[in-house]
Assembly symmetry: D2
Homo-oligomer: 141 residues x 4
């Protein structure tokens, strides 16, 4: 069943042109939990050679949506809002975003996400986020 | 002098591979204020045909950094943290992010940013953000 | 009509034991905008003699709820989430929180609030917040 | 040594007139972790009979500051910013806020806090927060 969920999640990711552009992969997806992985390329960087904050944010936001979506009964969900703290420069060959559900009700799921940069095999926490996922059509009008 | 600032800001943007990948332009930059503009392409979208939240976040984050940077004495700055509320699906041909400084001290600037989607010439607010900009080396270690 | 709204808002405030304990007053309330004022007492302070952050947050949160509530069709509303940046120590005889609606839809209002400390007649911005107001029963379950 | 830390933390709390007014107790304090407990009184409530969001926020904010302070080398610290999601109405006889350090550097600690309402012995998560703690004098000027 979780294999089905993972397959379903990957199909959605494959329908996001922006995620294809960046090269994001859904590496884990089960009820209440999601993991996105990104192989870092030169084009993901900013002027200091670190991964651009916008890439880190995108990954956190997307992982939050997946985690929240797995905990809500509705089919389509979106991130309504989130907050992110950047902790360290994102330096490495891979970024991994791990999100989990903190609370899920009928109309919202509140989730957390940690983003790690993997450099030469060593994982370092580089950002942490908290956000609200809602059914599609609930928040934006 | 503001022409110098705009030129300086555009040079930095031209050094960000991720901003080049997306096609971002710095369309206004003066002390306390910055505007980024993005011509929307198919590859910026998610599965519903709207601009991906990650693109909206990236634009807000980057505009916040520019606005904050213009108000801090230090040369290099980064976004330490921010929060964003998505308000409407980002539908249109152009995205415009307008950020301004709410407070600037010696060691941080707190800024706000509104992101508008321009559809057939009509601007609609699609996200609003608030964040903290700090000198490079201050927050991330 | 706005006089009615102000009166209505004051009646609600008078039903909040915590607001009575603190001595909060609703000094302005109209569609899309609310102002709360607090005469600072010794018991509002923390160990450095400033107004406690918790008092500043409470005031911002409550002003956000009023502003959002004035823009939503539903009768009862609550703050679903908010974010606050403390900017300066809150020093003075009075705190004033001014909130306004940034966006209002059917199911949520996103609002901003600035909190000022008034010291010897001079107003200084000491905190700024952004949050989401929802109909009662929508968010918390 | 942790007994010393707890004693030190309690002495600071006893110097906060606002915490005395509310009746807050520091029930755990060790490097990287803090717990505040509040016996709920009528005067902590809002108009629906729940604990006022301002009280929940105050407790989260204060617990974040304790946790962050235990992980920073500087003596005095303050909350620079935080974000809170209210999840359920805070109904019960006691509130417990548990905060922990997610990341600590030289100049900031990023912490999380869960606030639980204890009703007839049953704990329910009613809010979750994330925030930045900085040395006194760093953020506010």
């Amino acid at each position: 069943m979780n294999a089905d969920l993972l397959q379903f999640g990957r199909r959605i990711l494959a329908e996001q042109p922006f995620s294809i552009l960046l090269g994001t992969e859904l590496t884990a997806f089960e009820p209440g939990r999601a993991e996105l992985t990104l192989a870092v390329r030169r084009e993901h960087q900013q002027q200091h050679g670190f991964v651009h904050g916008g890439v880190v944010s995108y990954l956190a936001d997307n992982a939050l949506t997946y985690a929240g979506g797995s905990a809500l009964p509705q089919q389509g969900v979106v991130t309504s809002e989130y907050k992110i703290n950047y902790l360290r420069p994102a330096i490495g060959q891979t970024l991994v975003a791990r999100a989990s559900v903190q609370y899920a009700g009928r109309t919202q799921a509140v989730c957390r996400c940690d983003v790690f940069a993997v450099n030469q095999g060593e994982e370092k926490l580089c950002a942490t986020a908290q956000g609200t996922i809602v059914p599609l059509g609930a928040a934006p009008e």
